[in-house]
């Protein structure tokens, strides 16, 4: 089907402003194929149903809009943790700022190193999970990423990784336009935690493809904060094997435009996938969580828990879907998206979806929007807790269900403290 002229023009204008990176044979083939996908789908436009609540214009236009660098004296996330640091500055790997990757105890290398080799395990994943995730809903920005990503890491874990891998994205130029693509493979029984933080660039397009083999466990904790003017479109594509576990949590504060897509396919029986998010938005904050979980095996469990606190005209979006394929019996699917609106100017737009083709499943979903409970507020104040502190306590309590999805207790406490810090810096 031919693309509408406007979409075709927007797509070609963007592509004309970019150059395909060079690499070995396998990655060149993957990039070419991805480019063909972009041309076939066209980049997102504001009339696309999947972008009904979030305007993609600034993510698509050739030039990244400027984003001022912002700093405050609060320490960076995960600073006090023992981890393998992998630093990118405006989307470019910074070896000097990173830890020695050869000493990490796991297989971890730069994308371009893997791309230069004739044979590499990453070939079977790079762009493969992304392509699979294009159906039944198109995600053209992810295909654009596969075609044009200039950097990233590929990680393979066979046992239990000793330390988390911490991907740190620094933003140094007001006009940087970064595209990163990571590929992560957890072999049978492997365990890995990946941390992500930092504003990355003025505009950031990131894809993470994760293969979680049988009995493997993948944990992901991400913070998105600081530079408010940054724009980001991120995708996670994950494929889960038998009895594997995938748990991802994202904390988002600040940001004029963030779209986080998470596409998960449960392909092995008894697999577990949890995706959660806690977002705090103030003013011209726009945050979009778009999740698509496909159950394609028996007795799998999936949970989506998304909480947003919005004020001064901030906007939160949730598009979440559970698709249960024929034969995916005993599926246990749960989805909740809730917003706490601290004033009348803020917006929460939610589109929860269930599509079920098996008859022996338990799926539930709910979405609510509300204000701070006056009775709770009065109860706290009547005990001497000042208004602002009482509101903060109730905001944290509201977010707790999402934060509790983080399994690791020190990480969970760390995130709670950061959320508290943000609340203390922002007056109601």
């Amino acid at each position: 089907m031919a693309l509408p002229q406007a979409k075709l023009d927007a797509t070609e204008t963007r592509l004309a402003a970019m150059a395909l990176p060079s690499g070995g044979a396998w990655i060149t083939a993957a990039r070419d194929a991805a480019l063909a996908r972009v041309r076939e789908m066209g980049l997102p436009g504001r009339r696309d149903e999947y972008w009904k609540f979030t305007r993609p214009d600034t993510l698509v236009e050739p030039q990244a809009p400027k984003a001022a660098l912002f700093s405050h004296d609060e320490g960076m996330p995960f600073d006090d943790m023992d981890r393998v640091r992998v630093v990118f500055v405006d989307g470019v790997f910074d070896a000097a700022a990173s830890d020695d990757l050869t000493a990490a105890g796991i297989e971890i290398e730069r994308l371009e190193t893997a791309a230069a080799q004739d044979i590499h395990w990453a070939r079977d994943l790079y762009g493969v999970l992304e392509e699979k995730g294009q159906y039944p809903v198109m995600r053209p920005l992810a295909a654009l990423n596969t075609a044009y990503a200039t950097d990233g890491v590929v990680i393979r874990v066979t046992g239990k990784a000793e330390k988390p891998v911490s991907l740190i994205y620094r933003h140094a130029s007001e006009t940087s336009d970064a595209i990163l693509h990571h590929v992560i493979k957890l072999e049978e029984g492997a365990e890995l935690t990946v941390l992500e933080n930092g504003p990355a660039a003025a505009r950031f397009n990131k894809v993470m493809e994760v293969e979680v083999a049988d009995n493997a466990k993948f944990h992901h904790v991400r913070t998105q904060g600081r530079d408010h003017e940054r724009r980001a479109a991120t995708h996670i594509f994950a494929r889960l094997g038998t009895e594997s576990v995938f748990k991802s949590f994202t904390m988002t504060v600040n940001g004029v435009l963030t779209r986080n897509e998470c596409v998960i396919e449960l392909t092995g029986d008894d697999a577990v996938a949890h995706v959660a998010g806690a977002a705090l938005g103030d003013g011209d904050f726009h945050h979009d969580d778009t999740v698509f979980i496909t159950h394609d095996a028996v007795n799998c469990e999936s949970r989506q828990v998304f909480k947003k606190v919005l004020r001064n005209g901030a906007t939160g979006v949730f598009q979440g879907k559970i698709l249960v394929q024929p034969g995916a019996q005993k599926t246990d699917g749960y989805q909740i998206s809730q917003s706490l609106l601290l004033d009348d100017d803020s917006n929460f737009l939610a589109k929860p979806e269930l599509e079920i083709y098996a008859d022996d499943v338990a799926c539930s979903h709910g979405s609510t929007t509300g204000a701070i409970d006056e009775d709770m507020l009065f109860y706290l104040r009547a005990r001497g807790v000042p208004l602002k502190k009482a509101q903060d306590l109730l905001v944290l309590a509201f977010l707790a269900e999402a934060v509790e999805e983080i399994e690791d207790e020190p990480l969970r406490d760390h995130i709670t403290i950061r959320l508290q810090g943000w609340l203390e810096r922002h007056s109601h």
């Binding site: 006056e374 009775d375 709770m376 009065f378 109860y379 706290l380 104040r381 009547a382 005990r383 001497g384 807790v385 000042p386 208004l387 502190k389 009482a390 306590l393 109730l394 944290l396 309590a397 509201f398 977010l399 707790a400 269900e401």
Partner: protein, 251 residues
């Protein structure tokens, strides 16, 4: 200590007068009880004193140790030493009971210019007081009042009172929903707090609570006014003859 003069209150949303000239003085070390039929304005009095929204004071004053309560925010009243044990304690999912209490204790200390309590000291004190009220460690860890039985909620109110050590305690229908054993626990908790410097205002519909918490003065409230004041014998009179007799007598 607590002085209420000619207090007139109506609902903010509608033109409905609830309190129509309440006069009351509670002295330090004394327990005053307010009894009265449903709808007489007893609970409204407790809410207005503690600063709940939705009420408009049209006339009169309420002071605590000479300070104007009605001008203060609810948290300022608490820091000044006022405590309301709620008739219906609120459930707060996601806020741990212990976190809540520690925040409250330290916020009040801070407001009074006192040093905050360290977590070790706090733990020691709360464990002691919780034990007396038969509140186990599990209940302290749970979110505030979530999943608590009626009796557990009321015991939790008294624990908060014991931790915050207010000067003036208002108990709003603390006996409602309590069985005999729970009533005894709660009353023992209250009685343990009685001392020469602390005043109590016990609001109740029934006399039975007053068997456990012995009042010095009993007031009968009706239609937004205190219509009769007497000693503990007044409560027994209500128990025996109901409110109708007394109200008929004053009318």
């Amino acid at each position: 200590m607590l002085e209420i003069k000619n207090l007139h209150v109506q609902l903010e949303e509608e033109d409905k007068k609830i309190l129509k000239g309440v006069d009351l003085v509670v002295e330090p070390g004394k327990v005053h009880a307010i009894m009265g039929p449903n709808g007489s304005g007893k609970s409204t009095l407790s809410y207005v004193l503690s600063g709940r929204d939705g009420y408009e004071v049209t006339d009169g004053t309420a002071t605590l140790d000479g300070e104007d309560l009605l001008e203060m925010e609810p948290e300022e009243r608490a820091a000044a030493g006022l405590f309301l044990a709620f008739q219906y304690p609120v459930e707060i999912p996601g806020v741990g009971n212990m976190t809540f209490l520690r925040t409250a204790v330290n916020a009040q200390r801070k407001a009074r210019g006192q040093e905050e309590m360290s977590s070790t000291e706090f733990l020691k004190v709360i464990r002691e007081k919780a034990k007396e009220l038969k509140i186990d460690a599990e209940m302290l860890k749970r979110p505030v009042n979530v999943g608590f039985s009626g009796g557990e909620k009321k015991r939790n109110e008294i624990l908060q009172m014991a931790m915050l050590e207010p000067r003036m305690c208002i108990l709003d229908e603390t006996d409602s929903g309590l069985d005999v054993d729970a009533m005894k626990l709660v009353s023992d908790g209250v009685n343990a707090l009685r001392d020469a410097g602390r005043g109590f205002l016990v609001i109740t519909h029934y006399q039975r609570l007053l068997n456990h918490i012995k009042p010095d003065v009993v007031h009968i409230m009706s239609d937004g006014r205190i219509v009769k004041t007497g000693g503990p014998e007044l409560a027994l009179e209500v128990e025996e003859n109901g409110y109708a007799d007394i109200l008929g007598e004053v009318a």
